[in-house]
């Protein structure tokens, strides 16, 4: 059961990383902000260039 729970936790963590939720949480921690439209806008201002430079593979 422990293995299943651990696998589920890792799967969820992978989804959070893929979908940038983990990056947003780190941003909030780093900038000591609470989640809000303004914080999310600031997150994307910081991320715009690096995300835009990331090509998707064929």
């Amino acid at each position: 059961m422990n293995h299943v729970a651990k696998a589920a936790r890792i799967f969820l963590a992978a989804l959070r990383e893929i979908f940038d939720e983990a990056a947003y949480s780190r941003f909030l921690r780093r900038s000591q902000m609470a989640s809000s439209p303004a914080a999310y806008a600031a997150f994307w201002r910081e991320r715009e260039s690096s995300h835009g430079r990331r090509p998707k593979c064929c």
Binding site: F11, A13, E17, F19, R26, P37, Y40, W44, C57, C58
Partner: protein
Amino acid sequence: MSKLLAILGWGAVAALGALAVGVVAVHRGEPISTLWLVVAAACCYALGFRFYSKFIAVRILALDALRATPAERLENGRDFVVTNKWVVFGHHFAAIAGPGPLVGPVLASQFGYLPGTLWVLAGAVFAGCVQDFVILLFSVRRDGKSVTEMAREEIGRVGGFVAYGAVIAILIIILAVAALVVVNALKGSPWGTFTIAMTIPIALLMGVYLRRIRPGKVLEVSVFGFILVLLAIWGGQWASQTPVVARVFSLQASSLAILIIVYGFAASAVPVWLLLAPRDYLSTFVKLGAIGLLAMGIVVLHPALHMPAVTRFADGTGPVFAGKIFPFAFITIACGAISGFHSLISSGTTPKLIARETQTRVVGYGAMMAESAVAIMAITAACVLQPGIYFAINSPAGVVGQTPVAATATISGWGFPVTASEMQTLAHAVGEQTLFNRTGGAPAFAVGMAHIFSQSLGGERVMGLWYHFAVMFEALFILTLLDAGTRAARFMIQDAMGHIYKPLGRTSWYPSIFITSALIVGAWGYFLWQGVKDPLGGINSLWPLFGISNQLLAAVALCVATTILIKMHRAKYVLVTLAPLAWLVAVTFTAAWQKVLSPDPHLGFLAQARALAAGPATSATPRLIFNNRLDAALTAVLVAMVALLLAESVRGWIGVLSGRREARMKETPFVMTRLAEEQA
């Protein structure tokens, strides 16, 4: 005791793998179960990972779990973040898996299921996985540097210049060919066009929801977006059955091409959060779900493969694209076996997330194996179709004839019986007016996927929904690729132009954004337009061009890897990267030679230009002649650039091996990790 069990266990895996590959390779006549393909692939991947990747990790690269990675040393909570290895695996797989492993294997199935399957398995285990693994590790040891930076630092300025040129060229060609696949899947299909059109407002809605209503709740909004997409697929059926709406969404290839070009420009210029990111999330959500679903479908339902192991088109006379198995099967299937594009991902975000060097094996080698498995699924989806149906969908009208009667007569004459009424029934079942001449691979894959699922879930009554789900899922991939690729190429051009005139390098300056976006969109839009107007369907010219440029980029990455191995004094193991490099050089240079200089007008660009010049002149003839000459020139330039890089690399290798040149590497010095075992 446990060692004996391990030997017995791995011996059994090897024996089972040999049996399955043997059945796949030698069976002729009756259809075989797809389970043989699944078992052969699973055993090859297991053996490759357990033994070959371990050999590379231990003997050659000497992965060091005590060496701090850039994620640890440079951790900033933004780009450099220590991350769980399975999380990085998922992230890396989501980034490398695109439409390529689905489309290429479907096109290469014109040779039968065997050539593609063998290339996907051997290519992945001995070339693709190795490339992704070593480039990832070398990037980790260089603070996450990109493959173009490593080429410049380890090979020289020529290496950097060639790598940069190859990346720009491949981006332009891949965007054009990907857009052409979408155009061919959606032309004359109100259902498909309606569904895909709806994904744009859905993505915008998701962007606004994330920004204004529930900031950062991406998984939640992706589920919401996915439900809306399913509703759009269902609504597409209504659209196709309502004459007024169907007329609006029944578009010709040229109209669709113009719309996609306009979309590409707009998507490159609007903020990332508004369209690119939400579409990326939606596409990834659908992609992971659809791949998982297809894998389950194949394993559980294990339909029979109707395509012969090897078809008569091994001789190079195939209708889908011209050229013999060697070299064309090996450039048609790039992603799934080896893809140069992966080296950009392996030296992009991924190396900045790796917690320990030892994890590069599972992430680099392992994720590529997963992508290779996707390619096996695509071969399965194409080859479960009756061959006559496969060829009717994938053959251009210029080859098989303009009418259903002519096309079915031509295809049946090849020994693959199919009738016009059979095609009409199938088109009706999937909600299309016709399935003839749907070149590009996506419609054939969608029909195959619908065929597999219609054997259980909902039966043939819902085949149309499955077909349009598959088309939507591929088109969504591709439009995401267009967004991201156009923007990434725009940034690269802006960086370069900033050296000429500084303001042009500012990525947020609108005149610069418009100029560079127009340059990139104009470049891939030109090739897309060329493909749409090509009497042979466009795929015949553009897919090989994409395959050649992608494999040439892989050659660049393997040149970098070989150079570093030699500098690491691992010359006795250099065949690990040198053998795939030699193979790719042989494949790409032969393919390029034939595409440029073959006297067969179906194959050679220049021969086709000559044939057009000698034939009856129409208003389009001068443009078609120019396009063929342009394709020939582009192919020649790409090959010349890589030949230059290869010469520069070989000069460096000889210098180091003979002791005339110092083996100086730009590796970051060793720093002991401070991470405890459980943190990593």
